[in-house]
């Protein structure tokens, strides 16, 4: 245990994903030794991201304005929506340059263990987007693990009555992993070889 403010910092850092107590301590002491200007810049960046960045009201992707860059881009195909779990998956897919449609970010996957059900994801918003019948294909690019698969099955069943084409990325993605860890070539190929999801 350290002096109040130091321990406080360690505790806060320790709440970040992937940062254990040891790392938190190391980062804290690094910051203590750093130049005040450097620390100010970090603090500013943290505050700024919270103030300025929000979630696109259409697709749920991180955005600097009401709508994200992709939703505002008129050149993107409005007939195809690719559903992903997180904003970082959008980044991964954009890198492949295989996809010219639009996205929908769910904000996670169905996982009863973690108390996440359909109501906790942006599925309602997706249904609203699909309601006008303009979208003809829904590509489900949730992670290639059990929860991602379950979410894909759930969505496919949900939209089935709407009669649009529902596809899933081809297998070949490392099973059990996160979409974001797949390399560009593999992910690009998975896009090209997507298959109809039959439920």
């Amino acid at each position: 245990m350290y002096e109040g403010v130091v321990q406080n910092l360690i505790d806060e850092l320790g709440m970040l994903p992937g940062v254990g107590p040891k790392s938190a301590q190391r980062i804290a002491f690094h910051l203590l030794a750093a130049e005040p200007a450097d620390v100010k810049r970090l603090a500013h960046a943290l505050l700024e991201v919270k103030e300025k960045v929000r979630f696109c009201r259409v697709c749920g992707n991180v955005a600097a304005e009401e709508e994200c860059r992709i939703c505002r881009d008129a050149r993107r195909d409005p007939h195809v929506i690719c559903v992903v779990e997180e904003s970082k998956d959008v980044v991964a897919i954009e890198k492949t340059r295989e996809f010219r449609g639009r996205y929908h970010v769910l904000g996670g996957a169905i996982s009863p263990i973690d108390g996440v059900g359909p109501d906790d994801l942006r599925i309602r918003e997706l249904m609203t987007r699909l309601a006008d019948g303009r979208v003809t294909e829904l590509i489900i690019a949730t992670d290639p693990n059990l929860e991602g698969e379950a979410t894909a099955t759930y969505l496919a069943r949900l939209v089935k009555p709407m009669g649009l084409k529902v596809t899933r990325l081809a297998s070949g993605l490392p099973v059990g992993g996160d979409l974001e860890y797949a390399d560009e070539v593999t992910l690009g190929r998975a896009f090209e070889g997507r298959r109809l999801l039959d439920v």
């Binding site: 009863p112 359909p118 109501d119 599925i123 249904m127 379950a150 759930y154 949900l158």
Partner: protein, 428 residues
């Protein structure tokens, strides 16, 4: 195959030990509690990434140490593989193959194949169905390592589905309708019209996944049991000549007798938690006829139908009541079940016969597995001792532990190591 080298760091009672081994028989001899089993347990861990003694990895790490490392050189057809495992209880283990990290530790399962006989094997006959399910699943993984993934997926589906059922059960008990699970109460027309957010609608998704993964596991188990049946019978007859014949039968929550098409597979509709294996339940799923070619699609359909049938009970109790996690491998001794009827000696012979059958099967797949006999000879009478020794002697490598030299049968005389107070010394 054989193990040419074993090196332990902070594994069980060993802070550091290096052991050079060769093909043939080797005995580890020493008084109780000196670390004989710890050595062979480490080899079993290399093969299966689990211990035959404990369910969790914690006890494998030396008291006071943070992690254990097991390294072994496995030789198969003159090709050497260095398999290194770092055991980190409570966190992910790490593995290296020939000094390169592998992405998942389970990718090195099966590089070493072992068949381990131990006093704990008696539980195969006398213990709960879970012991026998584990026997089958471990063997599936040893034969085809991809089953480690199948098994892990099935366990994960069970956990997810269980969590959902418990939520639903709690909601029921709390007097709330289980229909809605989310935070938000308002609903857009499309969403509500589709019945989304409904516990039942997500349950159907988990049913589908449980049926798919469960059918894969179930089909593999059924096939395995068919392959084991003649081998177990033959091994038992060799161990205990003149005894009544033994038989195996896979008994499931899903009747497999009618693996026909189109949902005709009827569910056994279990009424209670205990799958009746004892004499009290002669009316067990009308003695499912031997299933020779389990049709996965039919099994999947059957599991789905089975789940639907017990849904009310599941929602009441918050547990998954149908699926391979509730099945059993029935062991029959003549007209009687072995469990609850077999004598001590008969139980031992049955357990040994199961392991020997596993050995035969693995050997037939190619690559003679390493045989490990932990303290088993002391438990057997002279005749069974001799027969077991004869049966295992042809293996490429046989490792034996015994408290006294006399417990090592003459047929298996070979290298000898004395084990005392955490050090291992070759004496022959």
């Amino acid at each position: 195959m054989h193990v040419a080298h074993l090196s332990l760091t902070d594994f069980r009672s060993y802070d550091a030990v290096e052991l050079a081994l060769e093909p043939g028989a080797a005995a580890f001899v020493g008084p109780n509690g000196q670390g004989k089993t710890n050595l062979v347990e480490a080899l079993g861990y290399v093969a299966t990434q689990s211990s035959h003694r404990v369910a969790t990895d914690g006890p494998l790490v030396r008291q006071g140490a943070a992690r254990a490392v097991v390294r072994s050189v496995v030789v198969r057809d003159d090709r050497r593989a260095l398999v290194e495992l770092e055991i980190n209880p409570g966190r992910a283990n790490r593995a290296r193959l020939n000094r390169s990290p592998v992405s998942r530790p389970r990718d090195v399962i099966g590089l070493l194949r072992t068949v381990l006989f131990a006093p704990e094997d008696l539980a195969l006959v006398k213990g709960d169905p879970a012991e026998r399910r584990r026997f089958l699943d471990d063997l599936l993984v040893a034969r085809a390592p991809r089953f480690a993934g199948v098994r892990a997926d099935y366990d994960r589906v069970l956990k997810q589905r269980g969590a959902l059922l418990r939520t639903a059960a709690q909601a029921r008990r709390g007097g709330r309708s289980p229909a809605r699970s989310g935070r938000r109460a308002e609903s857009e027309a499309a969403f509500a019209a589709a019945g989304a957010g409904d516990v039942l609608s997500t349950l159907e998704v988990w049913d589908a996944h449980l049926a798919r993964h469960g059918a894969e596991l179930l089909a593999a188990r059924l096939e395995l049991v068919e392959a084991l049946r003649p081998l177990v019978a033959a091994s038992y007859a060799a161990l205990a000549p003149g005894s009544v014949p033994v038989d195996l039968e896979y008994r499931g929550t899903l009747s497999t007798g009618s693996a026909g098409s189109g949902g005709s597979a009827e569910s056994a509709g279990p009424a209670g938690p205990a799958a009746p294996a004892g004499p009290a339940a002669p009316a067990e799923p009308a003695a499912p006829a031997a299933v020779h070619a389990p049709d996965r699609a039919a099994l999947e359909e059957g599991l789905r139908a089975g789940l639907l049938e017990v849904r009310a009970a599941e929602l009441e109790r918050g547990v998954t009541l149908v699926g391979p996690h509730r099945d059993d491998l029935f062991l029959g001794l003549g007209e009687l079940p072995a469990r609850g009827y077999a004598s001590h000696g008969e139980s031992w012979s049955f357990a040994l016969a199961l392991r020997l059958a596993a050995y035969d099967l693995l050997r037939a797949d190619g690559g003679d597995p390493v045989l490990i006999l932990d303290d088993v000879f002391a438990e057997l009478d002279a005749q069974r001792r001799r027969r077991l020794a004869e049966l295992v002697a042809p293996a490429e490598q046989v490792l034996i532990t015994a408290a006294v030299p006399d417990d090592v049968p003459a047929e298996l005389a070979g290298a000898r190591f004395d084990v005392a107070e955490g050090s291992v010394t070759r004496v022959r």
